[in-house]
Amino acid sequence: MDSTKKKKLGQYSAHIVLIVASFFFLIPFLWMVSTSLKPLTQIFTFPPEWIPEPVMWSNYIDSMTYIPFFTYLKNTIIITVLSTLGAVISCPLVAYSFAKLRWPGRNILFIITIGVMMIPGQVTMIPLFLLFEKLGMVGTHYPLIIPAFFGVPFYIFLLRQFFMGLPDSLREAARMDGAGEFRIYWQIMLPLAKPAVLAVGLFQFMASWTDFIGPLLYLTDSLQYTLSLGLQQFQSQRGSEWGLMMAVSTMMTLPIIVLFFFLQKTFIRGITFSGIK
């Protein structure tokens, strides 16, 4: 009786802390949405106004005709979906090998994997571009998709950490039952690492979805362009179209918010090994 009361009190105080903190984290997003609904004359006023007056729903419609929104959206979806698929297929496989399988050169290769992240992309950008040029892939979506299928060091490292945390006893038990390595990976280890794999999928989705420099360098026809390149088209020296730009930004964030909202549940479920054993 007393403990339930205590629990309730704990719940309330948790809510209060969370709501106060949420407020701070909401500011940038609210500002973006509010700007997306403002007429241009209201965007830079002092003191700043948070409530648009009048509410310019038309910004959303106008922004879709200002740039070829649906063409860009289609391209963005193709690139994002395929590269995400690539990352979630290849990275766990490689990470599992780094964490749980034994082979010569593994540790050196792991160090190299972390090492390649330490060289800023700005200096490898040109040689990589020349490589894709030689492969005849400049001007196609390939350079933005294919590398993900071969693994991304950040995700490999991340997933390796998660696989390291899974007990070896699980593998041994499965082996005793005569399961092959592929089956152990596919049936036992991969499902256990699901939260991390989904996180990787989300990260790759976001990275591809908002990537600017990749599409900028590799795409040579505006029919192939992505939304993040479209976002730049709202900028100009004579006063950017802030309202329209934020409208597109807001629309661009929606799929990620929805995706996150549904994915986040998987992070909460604590795994219980006892159930598997």
Partner: protein, 322 residues
Amino acid sequence: MNGNAQKLDPIKSSETPYEKQLKLVPKKKKSKWSNYKYGILFASPWILGLLIFYAIPLFSSIYFSFTTYSILQPGEFVGLQNYKDLLSDSLFWKSVYNTVYFAVFFVPLSIIFGVALAMMLNMKVKGMAIYRTIFFLPTLVPHVALAVLWMWLLNPGFGLVNGVLNTFGIEGPAWLGSVTWSKPSLIIMSLWGIGQAVIIYLAGLGDIPEDYYDAAKVDGANWYQKMRHITLPLLTPVIFFNLVMGIIAAFQQFTLPYTLTQGQGTPANSLTFYVMYLYDNGFKFFKMGYASAMAWILFVIIMALTALVFITSKRWVHYQGK
């Protein structure tokens, strides 16, 4: 480095069954391959990826660092000249200072805040899905928009932040306009966008078996004891990951300060970070050779720090798998 990574080897505990197998199978050589086969097979996409997409660019950039390569012209071989010139380049040192300053404060703070936020977002409270989504939102706002918003909030005379401070009788600093406060401002801004690290912590928290907490409950452990003896130790593999990636990211800090200062690193180069200066050299001043030399110096710095983290990690990183 090598020996140390060996110590991270998780397989150790599983060595017995392997050895047993080896003894059972007569042809040793063949069995070795059959043991290794899967490891190499599983890693093969990445081995190929490294060879195709990383090897050539990385080796070319090492070569470029010894030349006056300008992207548009191959340039001449100048030996160590670029490295020598860097040592006497005052803006280079300034950018090193700025970057180290940022990393020293940002990396630890991001871990403390990240873990704290993740724990908060891992409570069993109704509507948690919404809270989690809210905390993730700042990472979704485009940088251009973030830059404008922050200049607005932190404007010394009219900004919201100083306005609030003023009501408490505190006179706020000039934030982004001040040489002293520009870097702290950037650190605060960056902390706002740690949503990605929080997700990783959340996934890590999700990996901690409920059984441990149940057992602790039976023993009558309080909240603090549970955190201290179960949550934190079992979160260390993920903290370790975020520490290493945090160091790498902090040293490569680029987009936000570049957008914020339109590439100028204002005020008075106090926001000129290492990769910003590297970028200017490579793409504005036609000194890609010089920029490549900078990249490899950066590599050495980050590698040294990461090695340090790896060496100490065996003392504080606990893998459940062991």
